[in-house]
Symmetry: C2
Subunit: 298 residues, 2 copies
């Protein structure tokens, strides 16, 4: 899994930072998580192919998490997209899109609308699983869990040579297929590959107040993205506005024993974001800042 | 009057070009004309104070002309704006805003909704007048005429010295006021100033098919902005999609005997936009390309 940050700021764009959007790659799929204003421009800026996005997840209906969606959908249609798009979003989203795009699109949108506080599997495919869970914010908001279920098998270089497997078949080998040559001789997959890595798990906790009920969803995940709108000096503001500080995010990461923590959704009051990292590290060592344009391997 | 281009591209953002938005300054007022996605980021990028915008005009409900509006309004409120905002837009706009911002804003929006094909004065103030007029596009669309009515008077340097007018009063002199000293002696304005320049007129023709009914609205204006989505080789596409070519825009400028023509709304199929200028110049000499971040004095 690879995660690219498209927007790392909170509600107001500032200092060249933009509202929330993230692109997650699992196998050949691109998942868009939230879609703040200008997301389509960020995708262009970073040379990412927006058309590969088949699944979009919207955490909640604050504008900095979805005002770019109608523009992205509109552009998909102008570009002649024909592939279906699956949209997982709060219930009002269908009306919001249809009011602004009253004409027929070049492709179908499948609306998978979430009601308040849902805790369920949204997608259960061969290679990945996506779930939503409720988080504690000022309006109904969901976090998302992305699990890469089946990890590709790993080639044994000596063995593939020994069994004379042609290179074009290497990819199928990593998918677990046996090889059969033109004489009907079968090379069994387990002779030339070994078990792949363990499943990977990414948890996007969206906008949330510090809330330990998040721990069970994030437990032992490979990467947790947790918002950190404020530094500790502004904790009261975090409480009032149902946001978190970086120290609070780090506490959740420690309680959940996650492997790595990624922090973002920085308030526009902060020009420099390094202090967020410094404060978080006092509680949880393996933490990184979400930087726009950077890709994090999970 | 000064016009700053915030977005010069057509529907799809491309090559670092953005959807339509323009900022027009008349006296101390900033008028925003259309508001494509990312307009608030462009205002920041060019160091323009968005909070000075009290009047917004939306030509039509294609997304590339208004998808940035809800984000801008939302940011105004987050920044604690208290000044009223006047929004001139097609009838559906109120619902579109209120569906996406169901909470109370920090300021009042006055909706001045336009129905189809209106040709009327929208604003008639002491120093400026704004009108709308229908243009020929695939959905109901309006152009706008901005007139700076009263031009400041011009100081006569020798005379203001001769009559010993204090410098702090120079600005009031340009506004036409007489000066009275502490003994009650009056210096009449016309003794120390001369008539200002003639009124200036800017016409924004929005998205439009080539249509000579525009000529009467643009007649003899100081600056006409006319869309040029396509080059002449794509004239059939311009006809089909109710857009114009640069040669067509130049023909309108010539028929209307405008002083200057500004062309924009370039299709994303064109990487280079210089050919638009070249083609327009074959018909009308005094033409410029609308370039993002550039300010044009009218």
């Amino acid at each position: 899994m690879q995660l690219t940050i498209l927007g790392n700021n909170s509600a107001l764009p500032a200092y060249g930072r933009h509202p929330t959007a993230q692109l997650l790659h699992i196998h050949e799929q691109s998942f868009l998580i939230d879609c703040g204003e200008g997301t389509q421009m960020r995708l262009q800026q970073y040379g990412l192919n927006a058309m590969r996005i088949n699944y979009i997840f919207i955490s909640h209906l604050h504008g900095d998490h979805y005002f770019g969606l109608v523009g992205l959908i509109s552009s998909f249609s102008l570009l002649g997209r024909t592939k279906d798009l699956h949209l997982f979003a709060p219930g009002e989203m269908k009306n919001i899109i249809e009011m602004q795009i009253p004409w027929k699109l070049s492709f179908a949108i499948h609306y998978h609308l979430m009601s308040e506080s849902e805790d369920r599997i949204l997608l259960n495919e061969d290679k990945f699983e996506v779930s939503c869970f409720p988080v504690n914010h000022s309006i109904p908001t969901h976090g998302f869990t992305f699990i890469e279920k089946k990890r590709k098998r790993i080639l044994l270089p000596e063995k593939v040579k020994e069994y004379e497997i042609p290179k074009y078949f290497y990819r199928q080998l990593t998918d677990g297929l046996d090889y059969e040559d033109k004489y009907g001789n079968i090379t069994r997959n387990e002779w030339v590959t070994q078990e792949g890595l363990l499943p990977k798990k990414y948890v996007f906790a969206a906008d949330t107040r510090y809330d330990e009920s998040l721990v069970k969803y994030a437990a032992e995940c490979d990467l947790l993205y947790h918002e950190t709108t404020y530094l500790q000096e502004q904790q009261q503001k975090a409480i009032d506005r149902l946001h978190s500080t970086s120290v609070e995010a780090a506490h959740i990461a420690r309680l959940a024993q996650v492997k790595q923590l990624l922090i973002g959704h920085f308030s526009s009051k902060y020009k420099k974001i390094d202090p967020f990292l410094k404060e978080a590290k006092t509680v949880f060592e393996n933490v990184q800042l979400a930087i726009e344009g950077e890709t994090y391997t999970i």
